[in-house]
């Protein structure tokens, strides 16, 4: 396989950022800023969903770039128990940009992170359109319940 061929990687993991909302807030905004810069540079797009329980992410891009990005994500101490759900060759991207959004039922968190989705252009319909992404979406919701 050509290292430039398009790949989609889907994973979800447990959020290990300690409970204080301020710390969580800082982390989330840090991730958004860092991912935007890094991912644009290497042509990786995708979406990150998060809540107090988990991160759930779709990464799309050239095989080597996705591989490098995922390796960096794996080394991150802010999450653990990473479940890699898919790493497959795809024809086209589901996400043409990089976005992230709070996905969950907590009213407080929804209010806190409401701007993140709007600002980053997160489109939930893209999430629920693809079968695997839909699974990821519902997994994220379950994880939040489990963490609560």
């Amino acid at each position: 396989m050509n290292p430039k061929d398009l790949r989609r990687l889907v994973y979800y993991s447990r959020n290990r950022v300690a409970g204080a909302p301020a710390a969580m807030d800082e982390t989330i905004r840090g991730i958004l800023a860092a991912s935007r810069t890094n991912n644009a540079r290497i042509d990786v797009t995708g979406a990150l969903m998060f809540n107090a329980g988990c991160f759930a992410q779709v990464l799309e891009g050239p095989e080597d770039a996705v591989e490098t990005t995922f390796e960096r994500i794996q080394q991150d101490e802010r999450h653990g128990e990473v479940s890699l759900l898919a790493f497959e060759a795809v024809e086209t991207r589901l996400f043409t940009d990089w976005s992230m959004a709070y996905v969950g039922a907590s009213q407080a968190d929804a209010a806190r992170y409401g701007d993140v989705a709007g600002e980053s252009g997160f489109d939930l319909s893209r999430m629920t359109g693809d079968r695997l992404c839909a699974v990821l979406h519902s997994l994220a919701l379950e994880e939040e319940t489990a963490a609560a």
């Binding site: 396989m1 390796e71 794996q74 080394q75 101490e77 890699l84 790493f87």
Partner: protein
């Protein structure tokens, strides 16, 4: 002006011209440390067009930025004594400077470029694939750290690491993927450690970490435990390598200096012992060295030494346990069981020595002896009863198993149809396809193949589908559990039905009571083996049992 620079000297012999043009960089200093002479090489090396007249501190000032390397030289000038010191010059050149006080007054300061030499030494301590330290480098760093720790009294930790399941990656996807994975593992190890710690690759999938710089306020052994836990988590996370999703784990053994050893050899050995225990504990975990491990390892080594010579000293023996057909009560055959009688140890449990024999590889020779001896005995029996022989998963790896069985059959003259080779699911776990090839090769010789200890392993049902076993032996834990536990009964029943529908016979193992025997019979097993129907017995007794006329119901089987 120093005497050496006096014009009279250059008249007698061309010393000054020689000094000026010689290949080695030379500076002459007056007693106060100011430069009175510099040859062209020295001026070039120090990147100074006009060194003469400059005080030494001013000349060397540009190279003192990183570390105070210059201080020892200045100090020696003040004290008028010789010194050798390493300096880092521009462009990362490393030189060794030698200052010598001259009898006529002043100093000679010479420089030797050691950049290449140091680079060579560094390379000799580096492992090329990952760029980590190698074993030699680790030893050096550990020695240095121990010397420092002896002064400061701050404990340090040595962690030995072994990847779990790495061989499978290498075997199935090839070395390029294996190498790429090792580089990723190395990168994660670097990430998990702090600056000052040393990460080394000792070869293959073995790594080591020297932890000298834990987070402030975290003391040993807590720092080492936190690191070990982090490593098990981090290294165990899925890798994506060249389009493949890969999973390996890591086992970690930890030793702390000075408690667990005060020199490099002891520490590495003790960390290794702890690693061995981490692996024995199921891998993907960490263990700290404990002094008891030394004693246990000594005991194991003692057992290993005895086991290695047991064959030559003819300490092995076979016992034969009858297998009874439930329908008729007749003896259909025997299973050959290995016994080790050691003059001092007495009878050593197979549960103790067989795993060790497998680990050190001598199970192949022992297994061949068992096969040969069992077939020779069976060939002499008055009836064509079957003889069951256990095979270790290790025996499948050498690629010679089919040939060995063929030779044994030819030499003993045993009818291949009477030989039943028993394998466990463990044999099929690794390299299933090559093991299946061997099984088909054995089947082609005409021997029968049984699945032993069924139900205790992994994906049993898929193996039953992959190879048409002649017999399934139901693990004794289910048989023993039948009396008090309805689920065990259900499992035995399910296996018996499964066997019947797949055309495989089923043997219930470990039957000890009449109640168990009744239950086994009710569930539809075809054969039974256990203390109730016959304990393991010497060869002669087994032969005698077969001499009992078949019309007489054997006394061994209660109705």
């Amino acid at each position: 002006m120093s005497a050496l620079a006096a014009p009279s000297l250059s008249i007698a012999l061309p010393f000054e011209a020689a000094l000026a043009e010689m290949a080695a960089p030379v500076l002459l200093l007056d007693a106060g440390g100011s430069v009175v002479f510099a040859n062209a090489r020295a001026a070039a090396l120090l990147a100074c067009a006009e060194p003469v007249g400059l005080p030494l501190p001013a000349l060397l000032a540009p190279f003192d930025a990183a570390e105070p390397e210059v201080d020892p030289i200045l100090e020696a000038v003040r004290a008028a004594r010789p010194v050798r010191a390493r300096l880092t010059l521009g462009g990362d050149r490393r030189v060794e400077a030698a200052l010598v006080p001259l009898s006529a007054g002043g100093f000679a300061l010479t420089f030797e470029d050691v950049t290449e030499q140091l680079r060579g030494a560094a390379l000799a301590r580096q492992e090329p694939l990952t760029g980590l330290c190698n074993r030699v480098g680790l030893h050096d760093r550990l020695d240095a750290a121990l010397t420092e720790a002896a002064g400061t009294g701050v404990p340090l930790a040595v962690l030995m690491l072994d990847l779990d399941r790495f061989k499978t990656v290498n075997d199935t996807l090839g070395h390029p993927v294996g190498d790429a994975l090792l580089r990723k593992v190395a990168e994660r190890l670097r990430r998990a450690t702090r600056s000052g710690d040393v990460v080394a690759r000792l070869g293959g999938d073995e790594f080591a970490i020297l932890q000298v710089n834990p987070h402030a306020g975290v003391e040993q052994p807590h720092a080492a435990e936190a690191l070990a836990r982090r490593l098990v988590d981090l290294v165990g996370r899925t890798y994506v390598v060249e389009g493949h999703m890969l999973n390996v784990g890591v086992s970690v053994g930890v030793a702390i200096a000075p408690t667990d050893g005060q020199n490099a050899d002891d520490l590495l050995k003790h960390a290794d012992l702890a690693l061995y225990r981490a692996k024995a504990a199921g891998r993907g975990t960490y263990r700290f060295f404990e002094p008891a491990m030394n004693a246990q390892m000594q005991a194991r080594r003692g057992l290993e030494i005895d086991l290695r010579r047991a064959m030559a000293l003819k300490q092995f023996d076979l016992a034969f346990q009858p297998q009874i057909r439930l329908e008729s009560g007749e003896v259909t055959g025997f299973e050959a069981l290995l016994r080790w009688n050691h003059p001092e140890r007495g009878s050593v449990s197979p549960a103790l020595f067989i795993p060790l024999a497998e680990e050190i590889g001598i199970i192949v020779g022992i297994g061949e002896w068992v096969l040969r001896t069992a077939c020779r005995e069976a060939a002499r029996w008055p009836q064509a009863a079957s003889i069951a022989v256990n095979l270790s998963p290790v025996q499948f790896r050498g690629g010679r198993l089919v040939e060995t069985v063929m030779n044994v059959l030819a030499q003993t003259g045993l009818d291949p149809a009477r030989l039943e080779l028993e394998i466990t699911e463990g044999a099929l776990l690794e390299n299933t396809d090559s093991v299946l090839d061997v099984l088909n090769g054995l089947r082609a010789l005409g021997v029968k193949i049984s699945m032993d200890d069924f139900g205790t392993g992994y994906s049993s049902l898929s193996y039953l589908q992959k190879f048409p076993f002649d017999k399934i032996k139901i693990d004794q834990s289910f048989v023993r559990g039948m009396e008090g536990n309805a689920e065990c009964g259900a499992i035995v029943r399910a296996i018996a039905r499964l066997g019947a529908s797949l055309g495989m016979r089923t043997t219930a193992e470990g039957v000890e009571t009449a109640t168990q025997l009744d239950a086994i019979r009710a569930e539809g097993c075809t054969e039974v083996q256990g203390y109730l129907t016959g304990r393991p017995m010497p060869a002669a007794q087994a032969a005698a049992l077969l001499s009992v006329p078949p019309s007489t119901p054997p006394a061994t089987l209660p109705a």
